[in-house]
Amino acid sequence: MTPDEEAVVTKVRDLMTTLDRVKQYRAIASSLTDFVLVFLSTLAVALSFYLFIDYLQFAFGIGYGYSLWPSVLSLAAASLVLAGLFGGILVADRKVKRVKAKEWEPDLKEGFPGAVKILTSFDWNAAIFDVQTAKLGFLMYGALKVVGYTVALSVLLSIGFLALGNGILHLALSPVFSVAVSLILVLAAESGDLKRRYHESYSMDSLIWELRWFYSGFARSEFKA
């Protein structure tokens, strides 16, 4: 292989590796609906629990005084939200793992002819569209994860603060305080992931331009040949 042919093979390998990653992101994008469905279902059940607590108080006066039942039910509801969140992540994760990668490897092992074979059979428009969809799904998934963790943590913290505020500090801590503390904690814990997502989405932007450039360059060379 000449140095130019080697460069083409390397570039095609880079391109196909990135597109494999895009396939995974697309799987994340398509599993967003499942994730939202699982999470919203558990949220609806958790809210029903809270409504049930209110109804018990209305109907039987349960929860007045030092009854443990409201705390137990609140904890169960918070656990449900957490379970829904992890369930949603699990569903998305399973879809990503099912994505087949490196199917182009045998062709590239043939060297330059294999690279040309891949390029000629490549659907450029579909690839550019895939990159755009994957980028959106990738960012949305990250945002939803932060929102979900914040909701679940703030429910847990509210229960904790209620016990701490009433029992030890004798303070009435606002629910906004739990949400704010949860958001700060979640952002601190997820900052690495958020940074990674930001950089990856940026690299996807450059990939879109690289793909366009590659496409026009390849089309021109094909036309000349």
């Binding site: 609906t33 499942d34 279902s41 609806a44 029903s48 108080q57 109907a59």
Partner: protein, 160 residues
């Protein structure tokens, strides 16, 4: 199909969140002095259902007797000789429109469909303002306490 399921779930979640505003809870207590008269007034919009828990603890005279009497809205009177706890359920009925009403010890509005407090006068006695507790669209629980007693009340209500 999944998109419709999400839409239905979102509507259900919004309904659930709205339902929280339908639950109301409040309470209070009062110490009725010797020879005094006070009235516990709980008013609610007709469309609300309420559960009123009341405790009356009479203070005893040195000879061990209690001179506390309770008078209810329907005119029934009963003496209280020992600590008394009871629950009154005020059922709701379907009505259209909003209800407003303000009177002695209560102020009812669509935002506060159930309200009440202890009024330091005998509203249900011969010279009381019983008429203030007859308002269209509102239901009342009222109990006049004559004598030396401690009273507690707690109200849970639902307006859906």
């Amino acid at each position: 199909m999944k998109k419709w399921a999400i839409a239905v779930l979102l509507v259900a979640l919004l309904l659930e969140l709205s339902a929280f505003s339908g639950f109301h809870q409040f309470g209070g207590s009062g110490n009725i002095a010797i020879g005094g008269s006070s009235t516990l007034v709980i008013a609610k919009a007709s469309y609300s259902s309420a559960r009123v828990e009341v405790s009356v603890w009479p203070e005893y005279a040195p000879n061990g007797t209690s001179l506390v009497t309770l008078t209810f809205l329907n005119g029934t009177t009963r003496p209280v000789t020992s600590n008394l706890d009871f629950v009154v359920n005020l059922p709701g009925k379907f009505t259209l429109g909003s209800t407003f009403g303000t009177g002695p010890g209560y102020s009812v509005s669509p935002q506060t469909p159930v309200n009440g407090s202890i009024v330091n006068s005998g509203l249900l006695g011969p010279f009381g303002a019983r008429g203030a507790l007859e308002v269209p669209g509102l239901d009342f629980f009222a109990m006049q306490v004559d004598g030396h007693a401690l009273i507690w009340y707690r109200v849970w209500a639902i307006s859906l």
